[in-house]
C-alpha cells in the first residue's frame, strides 16, 4: 500500500489500518452481541461463563505480545537481521502485551471471585501470568531510560530474552509447587461438560477479534515509535549543524537556504547513521526540510 492512499495529510492512519480498525470495531460489536445475548448461560457457571469470551483471548494476546517481543529481540541481536524496526516492534508488542496482561489478570480475578470465592489464588497459571507482567513492566521501564539508542536497543533486547527464558522455568516451578500443595484449583475450560455450539463459535470469534485488535494496537504503537524516532532525528540533524557552526563564522541557526548557497560549515557533512535510520543524502538536503522519498517507503499495511 503506498502512502498515497492516505486521505488527510498528516494523518498517521493508512487505508489498511482504517479498514483493520473498522473490522475490529465491528467484530467487537458482534462479539458482545453473541457473548452477552445469543450464547446461552452455562449449567455450571451460570451467566459468568460469558467471561470466557474475554478472558482466554486476552491471555493469549498477552502471551502473543511477549512472544513477538522475544522474537523481535532475537532478530535485533542477530547481526544479519539487525534493524531498529525490530527494536521498535519489540517495544510496541511488549507494551500491548502488558496491556492485555493487565486485562487478563483483572478479568480473571473477577471471574475467580465468582468461581472460587477468592480474588486471587496461587495457581500456577495465575502466578506465571503475574510474574510475566512484573518482568515485562520492568522491561518497559528499562526501555524508557533513554541514552544512546543503540545501547538502549541492545540492552532492551538482551533483557527481553532474559525475561522470556524465565517463562519455562517459572512454569515448571509453579506446577511442581502446586503439585506439592495439592491445589485443586484448575483451569475451568476443561471442566465444562460440553461446550454449546454458540459458545464455541463465540469463543473462536473472540480469538479472531482480539487478534485484530492486537494487530491494530501494535501498528499504531509502531507509528508512535516511528514518529518519536523521526522527531529525534530531526533534532539530530539540526544539532549537528548547530554544533559544527560553533566552529565557523556562519551564524548558528542558519536556514536551509545557506546550505545550498554555500557550505554552512566546513567540510562535507558525512552520511550519518542516525539513531533510528540511515540518512544517506546529499549534504545540502540533509539540512533542508525535505519531502519523504516516498518510493522508498515500504508497503504499508
Amino acid at each position: 500500500m503506498t502512502p498515497s492512499s492516505r486521505q488527510r495529510p498528516g494523518a498517521t492512519s493508512s487505508r489498511a489500518t482504517r479498514i483493520l480498525g473498522a473490522l475490529t470495531l465491528a467484530g467487537l460489536a458482534v462479539l458482545a452481541f453473541l457473548g452477552l445475548y445469543v450464547s446461552p448461560p452455562d449449567g455450571l457457571q451460570g451467566e459468568t461463563v460469558r467471561l470466557i469470551y474475554v478472558h482466554p483471548a486476552s491471555a493469549t494476546m498477552a502471551y502473543l505480545g511477549f512472544g513477538v517481543c522475544a522474537v523481535a529481540s532475537i532478530a535485533f541481536l542477530w547481526p544479519r537481521t539487525r534493524s531498529y524496526r525490530w527494536d521498535r516492534l519489540a517495544g510496541a508488542s511488549a507494551e500491548v502485551g502488558v496491556a492485555f496482561c493487565v486485562v487478563t489478570i483483572v478479568s480473571g480475578s473477577i471471574w475467580g471471585r465468582y468461581s472460587w470465592g477468592v480474588w486471587w489464588t496461587w495457581d500456577p497459571r495465575l502466578t506465571l501470568t503475574a510474574l510475566l507482567l512484573a518482568v515485562f513492566v520492568g522491561y518497559l521501564a528499562l526501555r524508557r531510560t533513554g541514552g544512546d539508542p543503540l545501547g538502549r536497543a541492545k540492552r532492551s533486547a538482551i533483557t527481553a530474552l532474559c525475561c522470556f527464558v524465565v517463562v519455562p522455568v517459572d512454569h515448571e516451578a509453579t506446577s511442581w509447587w502446586v503439585g506439592l500443595h495439592q491445589n485443586d484449583t484448575l483451569f475451568r475450560i476443561g471442566k465444562s461438560p460440553l461446550i454449546h455450539g454458540w459458545q464455541l463459535a463465540t469463543m473462536l470469534l473472540s480469538f479472531v477479534v482480539f487478534t485484530l485488535l492486537f494487530a491494530w494496537m501494535v501498528l499504531h504503537r509502531l507509528a508512535i515509535e516511528s514518529m518519536e524516532s523521526r522527531l529525534e532525528d530531526e533534532g539530530y540533524v539540526w544539532a549537528i549543524a548547530e554544533r559544527r557552526s560553533e566552529s565557523g563564522p556562519a551564524p548558528a541557526g542558519a536556514t536551509a537556504s545557506s546550505a545550498s548557497s554555500g557550505p554552512l560549515v566546513a567540510g562535507p557533512l558525512p552520511p550519518v547513521a542516525t539513531s533510528q535510520r540511515m540518512v544517506q543524502e546529499a549534504p545540502g538536503s540533509l539540512l533542508a526540510p525535505r519531502p519523504l522519498p516516498r518510493e522508498r517507503g515500504e508497503a504499508g499495511l
Binding site: R243, R244, V265, G267, P268, A273, S275
Partner: protein, 245 residues
Amino acid sequence: MDQVIRLRSAVALVGRFPVLAGVDLDVFGTEIVLLQGANGAGKTSILRACAGLLRVVAGEACVLGVELTEDPRAVRRRVGLLGHATALYDDLTVADNVTFAVRAAGGERSSVRPALDRLGLTGRLPATRVASLSAGQRRRVSLAALVARDPELWLLDEPHAGLDAEHRDLLDGLVRDAVVRGRTVVLASHEHHRAHALAGRIVTVAGGATPPDPAPPGPLPVPGAGAVAAGAVAPGVASEVTSVA
C-alpha cells in the same frame, strides 16, 4: 612513516548530542600532536573516540590499523588514555591499583615497581590507599599505570592538570622518552607554554570538528602559523608537520 590515527568526517554522539560533528585528523608514528580549542570543542571526545570508548557512528576512523567503526574494542589494549577521571579504586592501595591495571591489560607484574619509582611513588606511598591521596598524587598513580603498560598510542587529556612544576617536567620527560621508544602521543592541554614546547604539531578543534579554514575565527596562539594547523617543531623530537585537511 606509518599512520597511527586516521579520522575522516568522524561523527560521535553522546546521547543525542553530537560531540564530534565531522573530525578529520591524521597522526603518524612517533609524533606528538597537541589538540587545542575552547572548552567543549571536542578535544576529550576525540581522545575517547581514538581509545575506542566513544563509538564513531559515521565517517571513517582507523587507529593503529583497527577500524573503530567495526570493532572499537580491538584497539583498547594497545592504547593508553589518561583522562579527567583517574579510573582508580579508592579502597585499593597504590601498588594494587597499578598492578591491577597492568595485569588487566595483559602486562607483567614486574613492570609495576619501576613505573612507581619513575613517578616518585616510593617509600610508604605504594602501600597507601588511593582514597587518602591528593589529586596530584592520584594523577601520578594513573600516570604510573600508563607508564607500566607502555601502550603504543598515548592519549593524554590535560595531563598537566593538578601536577606541580617538578612533576610537569617529569611528565614532559616521560612523553619525550615514549616517543623516542617509538610511541605516539596525542594530548589535549590548556597549558599552552608547556604543550607548545612539547608538541610537534598543533591541531585546532572547534565545534566538534577540525575546520580546515586557514584563518579560523578568534585569536590563535599558534606561533608562526603558515600551513594549515602547523606548529612549532619541538627541538630534539622527531616529528613531521603534516597538513590536517
